[in-house]
């Protein structure tokens, strides 16, 4: 047991180290390059001139936002996969991201002057409603196949509505491309401040749900006999995933595959149990988003790609690989 535990601790330390490195690189690379010392100076000393502006005002909040998007999507994906017992569950595939996006598009069309916090709240409401809708339409998550089909249908419907709104409204058109492809272009401190909401919610969600979801894995009847309420736990987990997804979508738009891939990678690194899986998925999701955003900024510099395109490029083969390995 001791050996197992120390291996898990080492795996987590490795993930934390990788996340910190990914964060540092994201501050260093961009249109202009900074060495590690310059980055630290830029973070600490407010009189370091243009470096300070680039690092503290632009890159640092953007990297915080990227890490937040990855963490939110990774956690939402992990929780959906555990709850639905479906290795292909993910906020994008289950249509939850699209519903959060639809809520955002509606708010922007109806209230063009709404600030970023109102938009954020709309996304969160959309994400939670999306989770609730999938829960109701799939009649309580009993059949993984039904959930997936319902999710795909809801997602397609919501995406069609978003496209409809975009083509029908000039206001939304400005936001549209970056939003649909998913990315962090223009993310600043107002996005990074979502960490203040996200961090405590994340801790509460993980602590109150991990143990319950582990008990549910033994089967509903056995879980009830451990004092659990399976339906309520599943509902809470799905609504919570919707909340996490909503925060992520409000910052980055529709980033795909991070929610799908992060839990699979985390499972391979940190092993069993929901607590490990959730924490691991948060770290892996953050690393993926930080790397994707950094590469997106560098690859066609001084212009940039939406990070969502990169996650899809890497994520699509992972999905195909997963489907193949599940079939064989």
């Amino acid at each position: 047991m001791q050996i197992v535990k120390s291996t898990v601790v080492r795996s987590f330390l490795l993930l934390v180290l990788m996340a910190l490195l990914a964060f540092l690189f994201s501050l260093q690379f961009g249109t202009s390059y900074f060495g590690p010392i310059e980055v630290i100076n830029g973070l600490i000393f407010s009189d370091s001139g243009i470096d300070r502006t680039i690092i503290w005002e632009i890159r640092f909040p953007r990297s915080l936002s990227a890490a937040l998007v990855g963490a939110g999507l990774g956690l939402a994906g992990a929780m959906l996969q555990v709850t639905t017992r479906n290795p292909l569950a993910d906020p994008a595939i289950l249509g939850i991201s699209a519903l959060a996006g639809l809520a955002l598009a509606l708010v922007v069309v109806i209230f063009p002057l709404a600030n970023s916090y109102v938009r954020g709240m709309a996304c969160i409401a959309g994400g939670v409603a999306g989770g609730g809708l999938i829960l109701i339409l799939s009649r309580g998550f009993v059949s993984p196949l039904r959930i997936t089909i319902v999710g795909v249908a809801v997602g397609a419907f919501a995406s069609a509505c978003i496209i409809g709104l975009i083509t029908g409204s000039r206001v939304v058109l400005d936001l549209a491309l970056g939003f649909l492809a998913g990315g962090l272009y223009g993310s600043g401190w107002e996005d990074a401040f979502w960490w203040i909401v996200f961090l405590p919610l994340m801790c509460i969600g993980i602590i109150s749900l991990a143990n319950r979801l582990d008990n549910l894995a033994l089967g509903d009847e056995i879980a009830i006999n451990l004092g659990e309420n399976p339906d309520r736990t599943r509902a809470a987990a799905v609504l919570f995933s919707g909340l996490m997804t909503g925060i992520a979508v409000s910052i980055s738009g529709l980033v795909s595959f991070v929610g799908l891939a992060s839990p699979h990678i985390a499972r391979a690194i940190v092993g069993r149990g929901s607590l490990n899986l959730f924490t691991g998925s948060i770290l892996v999701g953050s690393i993926i988003m930080l790397v994707a955003d950094t590469v997106a900024r560098v690859v066609i510099s001084p212009s940039e790609l939406p990070a969502g395109i990169l996650t899809a490029f890497v994520g699509a083969p992972i999905l195909i690989y997963l489907v193949r390995s599940k079939l064989s």
Partner: protein, 267 residues
């Protein structure tokens, strides 16, 4: 003085939508009793067991545990008192036997507990020992044979220190030696004061090991008798319930064995 039964139900009704599955059942089970629920397919045995264990809500009637009304007991408190195992508990879980048994302590633990306390460790060791799977404790559940996995699950059920253990057809996937060992294990547990209620298909196994058999047919209790003072009344009642003649045979231990009269031309 009459002792308070660990579980008692009165006029219990269980059903699905418009269909009544368990119809006005009265039942009392005391501490240390070893009770078999018998009956043909669809007689309501499994439904009754789920109703009694709190796995499913009761539709009408009264259900009490040690004299306390079931609706007044919280789910976690009930979980500590009653252990239930379905017919085929999953074996494809990514857990070792010790990890599985530790999960069984959940009703006693706070949601914020990450590491096992000394009490948990002690109780887990005790449960593992009580079913004789010490040597398998660190093995993955998936690597065990059917009989071994069954024992691991019983340790999981016992680690809660329940007053009642309810098992739904625990012998259905076991070969005869494991069936006998399991029934002996359950008998031993009854000796320690645990009440055991077990749904069985095998009448012979039930009459050879249990103290009491309850015959169900179409959701009603048709027979409820102590078999320690002779099995003849049970035999007659069960022959009627199963619509098949049952015969008794002498056994090596001087007790009587029961077998269906497979080739009876009158049936």
């Amino acid at each position: 003085m009459k002792t308070i039964p660990v579980i008692a139900c009165n006029n219990l009704i269980l059903g699905y939508k418009d269909k009544v599955v368990i119809d006005s059942v009265d039942l009392e089970v005391s501490s240390g009793e070893f009770v078999a629920l018998l009956g043909p397919n669809a007689s309501g045995k499994s439904t009754l067991l789920r109703g009694l264990s709190g796995i499913r809500a009761i539709d009408a009637g009264e259900l009490s545990f040690s004299g306390q009304e079931s609706s007044l007991i919280t789910p976690r408190e009930l979980a500590k008192r009653v252990a239930f195992l379905p017919q085929s508990p999953p074996t494809d879980l990514d857990l070792t036997v010790r990890e599985l048994v530790s999960r069984g302590r959940s009703p006693y633990l706070s949601r914020f507990t990450v590491t096992d306390s000394e009490t948990t460790k002690y109780e887990v060791d005790r449960a593992i020992k009580s079913v004789g799977v010490e040597s398998l404790a660190e093995r993955p559940l998936g690597s065990l044979s059917g009989g071994e996995a069954q024992r691991a699950w019983i340790a999981f059920a016992l680690v809660k220190k329940p007053q009642i253990l309810m098992l739904d057809e625990p012998t259905s996937h076991l070969d005869i030696m494991y069936q006998r060992d399991l029934m002996r294990l359950l008998r031993e547990l009854c000796g320690d004061g645990l009440a055991v209620i077990v749904v069985l298909h095998d009448i012979s196994l039930a009459l050879a090991h249990c103290d009491r058999v309850i015959g169900l047919d179409q959701g009603k209790i048709m027979f409820d008798g102590d078999v320690r003072n002779g099995i003849e009344p049970s035999l007659r009642a069960l022959s009627e319930i199963f619509k098949m003649n049952l015969v008794s045979l002498p056994s090596s231990a001087g007790t009587t064995l029961v077998a269906p009269d497979w080739n009876n031309p009158e049936d």
